[in-house]
């Protein structure tokens, strides 16, 4: 059980590390490295936690005669090999059921909205290209996710922009489309449903995908200062247009946007600073993730051995 406890603590430590290091990592590392590392790391961490809790639940509940007889396990041997109190097992079982349920619910919701967004982007694209200039009420520009997806820019905004701003805007949105950035945002949403302690990783990932697209856009605008200026000018023009012509379905009431609001100045400042480079933070986090992953596998094997040992009729499957 010491191995299991070590692995469990390690898993929780990884959760803590992800939550604490997400923001510094996005600030310092290249966003195209930081975002996938954080998103995949969070998914792996959430899966580890789920697996470890399941093992605990299984070992604890196997103390019940009904469960033990169903698995044909000897309770005495189990108690010796995997001493997990029944109460801990019940709690772990309830916890894992709740977290898994949340994750499935979240994933299902994402699939539904993604389907809506895909159908809409098909309608908007029609047979044309991925960039659509449309006559919506409010000045806005965004990328819609989908199998092909599309970039939607309102005519008001597009016409109010100069050529450098348009280049920055279209290159930024094309980067979202090309790298399917929505997948990272959705991955972290599911990971948080399965492990709520990862909540603090969500905002850095949202900032990270915007930064990623900004960095890609620099490759088109050619110079970081010009890109930062174009971003700032577009934000101000959009704001001014919206103030001048408020529309009934403005989305200012959405709470999530308040969080995202602070990102524009952060992004502009990041563009004005030097090009992000490799950092030791990313490497450290990668090592920690690999160690935790290996630990979870190790614990699983240990529990598997424990259950196999406790089997009353020793019909161990011959190794393939």
């Amino acid at each position: 059980m010491t191995i299991f406890l070590t692995d469990f603590v390690l898993c929780l430590a990884t959760t803590g590390a992800l939550a604490l290091l997400a923001r510094p990592l996005v600030d310092r590392a290249r966003p195209s490295v930081a975002v996938p590392l954080l998103a995949i790391g969070s998914l792996v961490n959430a899966a580890s936690l789920g697996l470890l809790l399941s093992l605990l639940a299984l070992a604890g509940l196997a103390q019940l005669p009904a469960v033990a007889s169903a698995g044909d396990w000897s309770i005495d041997v189990l108690e010796l090999d995997l001493p997990v109190p029944l109460l801990i097992g019940v709690l772990a079982g309830a916890g894992v059921a709740l977290l898994l349920g949340r994750a499935i619910w979240r994933a299902a919701r994402i699939v539904v909205v993604l389907g809506q967004s895909d159908r809409l982007s098909r309608r908007i694209r029609g047979t044309g290209g991925p960039i659509a200039i449309v006559d919506t009420g409010a000045a806005d520009a965004f990328t819609l996710a989908g199998i092909r997806g599309c970039v939607v820019i309102s005519r008001d905004l597009f016409c109010a922009l100069g050529v450098p701003e348009r280049q920055m805007l279209t290159a930024h949105e094309m980067s979202h489309l090309r790298h399917r950035h929505h997948l990272y945002v959705q991955a972290i949403d599911i990971a948080i449903a399965a492990n709520p302690a990862l909540a603090r990783v969500a905002d850095p990932i949202r900032l990270g995908v915007e930064r990623w697209a900004d960095e890609d856009a620099v490759a088109v605008t050619g110079d970081r200062t010009a890109a930062a200026a174009a971003l700032a000018r577009t934000a101000l023009i959009r704001s001014a247009l919206r103030r001048a012509a408020p529309t009934p379905h403005q989305v200012t009431t959405l709470p999530v946007l308040c969080v995202a609001a602070s990102h524009v100045s952060l992004r502009a400042r990041a563009l004005l600073s030097t090009t992000p480079a490799r950092t030791a933070l990313g490497t450290a986090l990668t090592v920690l993730l690999i160690v935790t992953g290996a630990g979870t596998v190790d614990s699983t094997l240990q529990f598997h051995d424990g259950f196999e040992h406790a089997e009353k009729h020793c019909h161990h499957a011959a190794p393939a």
Binding site: P130, V163, L177, A232, L236, R238
Partner: protein, 131 residues
């Protein structure tokens, strides 16, 4: 086989952004001049032709050279169903489910001021010393 997915290459993506951002239909030379890193004329030409074949760009013959413009399905959102779907996604958590990525969100006063200052600073002439 028609290629599916937004799997445009880096150059295609950059070229498309430049053509879409242009005020008028552009020639190969104009796109080449805008692209950083001095790509070859023929590379830009074949990229533009490929994008036109994919339907992402429209090209028209102007004298002896092609001019390209974004084949954006303009104004299609006017149709009532799309407009309603769009409003639905915008107000019912499109960004919460991560399907909608805005270029810039709402600004508060402090942020507007900060951005205005940043712009004023970047307009000031500065010694050109980019490595």
């Amino acid at each position: 086989m028609k290629r599916r997915g937004p799997t445009l290459g880096h150059l295609e993506s950059a070229v498309l952004s430049i053509v879409a951002a242009a005020v008028q239909p552009v020639t190969v030379a104009e796109v080449q001049a805008e692209l950083p890193g001095n790509p070859a004329y023929t590379t830009v030409m074949s990229t533009l032709a490929r994008l036109a074949e994919k339907g992402a760009l429209r090209r028209t013959l102007d004298g002896r050279a092609y001019r390209y413009e974004a084949a954006a399905p303009e104004g299609l959102i006017d149709d009532a169903l799309s407009a309603r779907q769009m409003r639905h996604l915008l107000t019912h958590g499109g960004d919460r489910a991560g399907v909608l990525a805005r270029f810039v969100a709402e600004l508060d006063e402090e942020e507007e001021q900060m951005l205005a200052e940043l712009l004023a600073r970047s307009r000031r002439p500065k010694p050109k010393s980019t490595p």
